[in-house]
């Protein structure tokens, strides 16, 4: 497991402390980077700024702890789990910890945030170090007052004790502690002593969420701002020839209509008027080249798969030879459509561009990169650009891209006003940065009833699988193994979508192995386990999945799901996958209702190392599984003459509550550093369901969405 910890990582360089004027101690720190030497920690809580530090812990003189967390919340729970790491090592009761994100209703500090996309995995070490350092400083202060050796003191839930039985609360020594040197050589707790890590904690924003308080980007308002709605080219490949804004401008409340590039912004007194203004615009569009269609994509990707132009991402042994010598070659092709992200909160952003500064506020996963791009676009000094993050109504990858922030910055500059840009659902779905349509061809050579070769080919739009994905299972398990990729450059914008590439690759591969087991007439679990034996002891550094951990989740899934022991009429499908550093196995239970397959239950076994917040972790797991099933079943998105054919939820189908299985989660107990959970349970879900449908109906699915490709033979829901 790689830790983000440079050799120069030292507490002195990333933590500074100060005594607060109003009482209490402030620990100012920087995660993932050293503080500037001249950075002075604030002495007044109203002066917190996130330029010099990226997080703060306040310990008040009544012992209450406030963590000022700058981390963006997409819904994956890091705003709860990351402070838990601090609180654990600080040794305070979680009930006495208050987490503040500089939310919209907090006017007493400004935020300039970097490093928003850091996960729990990266924070595991530095966050605990910070908590432990603060705890040691409080102990040192108490020991000095008592005149005892700090090593004879202990802490328990915010109380320091010495060997004589004297006790002091943290709040009583904060003043002295704040002025001590930041100690080095801090020992972290043994995981078996964890009290907060591993215990259930509620989402820290839950009260605000369930009472409707302003939290999200769309809720953000400032005095004097106007609302903007933008008309964008309806088709990818269109440019704006001309437009007529006469009718739009005649609508009372429409302030202005501004063209920028191929887009036209309508500025108005409120969102509804801006939307009406946009509808009243008349535009003529043109295009230089032929516009793209789904049928065209289908042919292009098929041709790529059948062609010879590939980049080889990994090649072990000699696949060609293995195939030439095979008794039998099994070849299957798997196909997926483009997918929009459809965050429930449509894209939106606020900008105020003035001669002095550029201020941006909104839901974004990449504030630093977005600030840089806005500075470039507006030709401004990056020092003048600030990005504040709000809570995000979903991300799924879409909010990695700051296109909407660039748009609103440009509009505000042209309008010379603070502007709030709002996407309608149609804008959001029509101007997406989609999961690209992908096809996989998987071939296996079989000799003497053994798999001797495995060849995976990927044909995708605009980009291909990256990083260590070509080294995921079954890399290392099959002697002759090759991964080849090719892509087609499209005008349709594509990008990361929850569990990029693996969201569909897992379906293809885990369906393929299920079918191979049938062809080889071996037990489908045994086939997987036998392959994993061959990976054990492999020293290839690129192979980061653990055969032992994958084996374990598979075995526990067999046990917990009652694999092979279900009552009559329940059909099971199996899938196991490693991605995002987490090992997962899933079993889907399908029944036939009026001959239609219905997923009743998914048993999900997860090895994500230490589980920081089981309550939040299970939420991610349940969501990931159901999201995976929903998109595999229903997600469909096509283009005609460059134009997306679905614009809203009347035709684009997302899974709903009456279509969901119960997700039963089991964790593998572990003392290994935690890994991510926002993504890894999604990829295996599609294959688990497809394999169960095969068991139930005898129909093998190769294409998503299932509903479309099963319709003729066995309608789904």
């Amino acid at each position: 497991m790689k830790q983000i910890q440079s050799p120069s990582f030292s507490r002195r360089s990333f933590i500074k402390t100060s005594a607060l004027a109003g009482g209490g101690m402030l620990i100012s720190f920087n995660l993932f980077q050293a503080c500037k030497p001249e950075a002075a920690p604030p002495v007044d809580i109203s002066q917190l700024n996130f330029n010099d530090f990226n997080a703060f812990i306040k310990i008040a003189d009544n012992g209450m702890v406030t963590i000022f967390s700058p981390n963006p919340e997409i819904g994956q729970g890091v705003k709860t789990s990351m402070p838990m790491l601090i609180a654990e090592e600080l040794d305070v009761a979680w009930d006495n910890v208050h987490v503040v994100q500089g939310a919209l209703d907090t006017k007493n500090f400004t935020r300039q945030v970097a490093g928003g996309s850091q996960s729990l995995r990266h924070g595991w070490e530095p966050l605990r170090q910070t908590g432990a350092t603060a705890r040691q400083m409080l102990i040192n202060a108490a020991a000095a007052r008592w005149g005892v050796d700090p090593s004879t003191c202990t802490t328990n839930n915010g109380i320091i004790s010495n060997a004589n039985g004297d006790k002091l609360g943290y709040g009583e020594v904060v003043k002295e502690a704040a002025n001590l040197d930041v100690p080095e050589n801090i020992t972290l707790k043994n995981p078996k002593d964890f009290k907060i890590i591993g215990s259930d904690a509620n989402n820290v924003d839950i009260d605000k969420i369930i009472t409707g308080k302003p939290l999200f980007g769309l809720d953000y308002k400032e005095e004097g701002m106007v609302y903007a709605v933008v008309m964008r080219p309806p088709a990818f490949g269109n440019t704006l020839k001309d437009f007529d804004a006469t009718e739009a401008k005649a609508i009372p409340g429409v302030h202005d209509v501004i063209r920028f590039g191929d887009k036209v912004a309508v500025l108005a007194k409120d969102t509804w008027t801006a939307m009406k203004g946009k509808k009243a615009l008349k535009a003529n569009w043109e295009s230089d080249e032929a516009l793209e269609n789904t049928e065209g994509h289908d042919k292009i990707l098929t041709d790529l798969l059948n062609g010879t132009e590939f980049n080889t991402m990994r090649a072990d042994g000699d696949v060609k030879k293995a195939f030439a010598e095979a008794d039998e070659v099994v070849e299957r092709t798997y196909e997926s459509p483009f997918l929009p992200h459809n965050c429930m909160e449509p894209m939106n952003f606020f900008a105020d561009v003035t001669a002095e500064k550029v201020r941006l506020v909104g839901p974004i996963q990449t504030p630093a990169g977005t600030a840089r791009r806005v500075a470039e676009l507006l030709e401004r000094d990056p020092e003048q650009v600030s990005v504040e993050m709000t809570r995000m109504g979903g991300g799924f990858g879409r909010r990695l891209y700051g296109d909407f922030a660039l748009e609103v910055a440009e509009i505000s500059k042209l309008a010379k006003k603070p502007v709030k840009l709002v996407y309608s659902r149609e804008d959001d779905m029509g101007a997406g940065i989609y999961r690209p349509s992908i096809k996989y061809k998987i071939s296996a050579s079989i000799k003497d009833k053994k798999i001797t070769g495995y060849h995976l080919k990927e044909a995708s739009v605009n980009s291909n699988m990256y990083g260590l994905i070509p080294n995921f299972f079954p890399a290392g398990a099959i002697e002759n193994y090759q991964v080849d990729v090719a892509n087609y450059t499209s005008k349709i914008t594509t990008g990361a979508w929850r569990a990029p590439y693996t969201n569909f690759l897992s379906f293809a591969e885990q369906s393929f192995f299920d079918e191979l087991a049938e062809i080889l007439e071996v037990d489908r679990i045994k086939l997987r386990l036998d392959l994993l034996q061959k990976v054990k002891g492999n020293t290839d550094e690129r192979i980061q999945y653990s055969p032992e951990r994958l084996e374990k989740v598979i075995n526990v899934a067999v046990e917990k799901s009652g694999w092979g022991k279900t009552e009559e009429g329940v059909y099971q499908g199996f899938s196991a996958y490693y991605c995002h550093n987490t090992h997962v196995a899933e079993v889907a239970d399908v029944v036939l209702e009026n001959d239609v397959p219905v997923v009743k239950k998914v048993t999900c076994i997860v090895d994500c190392g230490i589980v920081v917040n089981p309550l939040g972790a299970k939420n991610q797991i349940e969501g990931g599984v159901i999201d995976g099933i929903g998109h595999a079943m229903y997600g469909d998105f096509s283009f005609k003459n460059g134009e997306p054919q679905d614009k809203n939820f009347n035709t684009y189908r997302l899974i709903r509550i009456n279509e969901t299985p119960v997700v039963e989660t089991h964790f593998i107990e572990s003392d290994i550093a935690p890994t991510g959970l926002g993504e890894p349970t999604l990829p295996p879900a599609g294959a688990a369901v497809a394999n169960a449908i095969k068991a139930a109906k005898g129909i093998r699915l190769y294409k998503q969405p299932f509903i479309k490709h099963m319709k003729a033979k066995a309608p789904l829901g």
Partner: protein, 153 residues
Amino acid sequence: MPVYNLKINGKSHTVEADQDTPLLWVLRDHLDMVGTKFGCGIGQCGACTIHIDGSATRSCLLQVSNVGDMEITTIEGVSEDASHPIQQAWKEVDVPQCGYCQAGQIMSATAFLSQNSNPTKSEIRDAMSGNICRCASYNRIERAVELAASKMS
């Protein structure tokens, strides 16, 4: 521009708005009550659900001129301190992930339970099927509605 007197969460509010303005945008942009969310604008996702005289209604499709003197209840009116049994159930089960759709979910659940205080699982699933949760916190929504029903009975 026409002026409307709206009864929202037991209080009277006067707003000036175009007659075709959906109540959703009156609440959000004119009255600063942003708990009611915009999701689709066509009544498909349920994020904007409010109560009109106690019935769950999509505020994105209801024009302000059609509200008249009907009683409007929004998420802000369920309880200010999260003390309503449904909010308590939401908290106990720790339902939200991103949280954006949850106000609408709670409003649908509240209206449903006021008509059916002892629902079956399948009635809950049917009643809540108009509300999309993109994070798919559906298992917990189902459990929270069940829990709320037991708290309220």
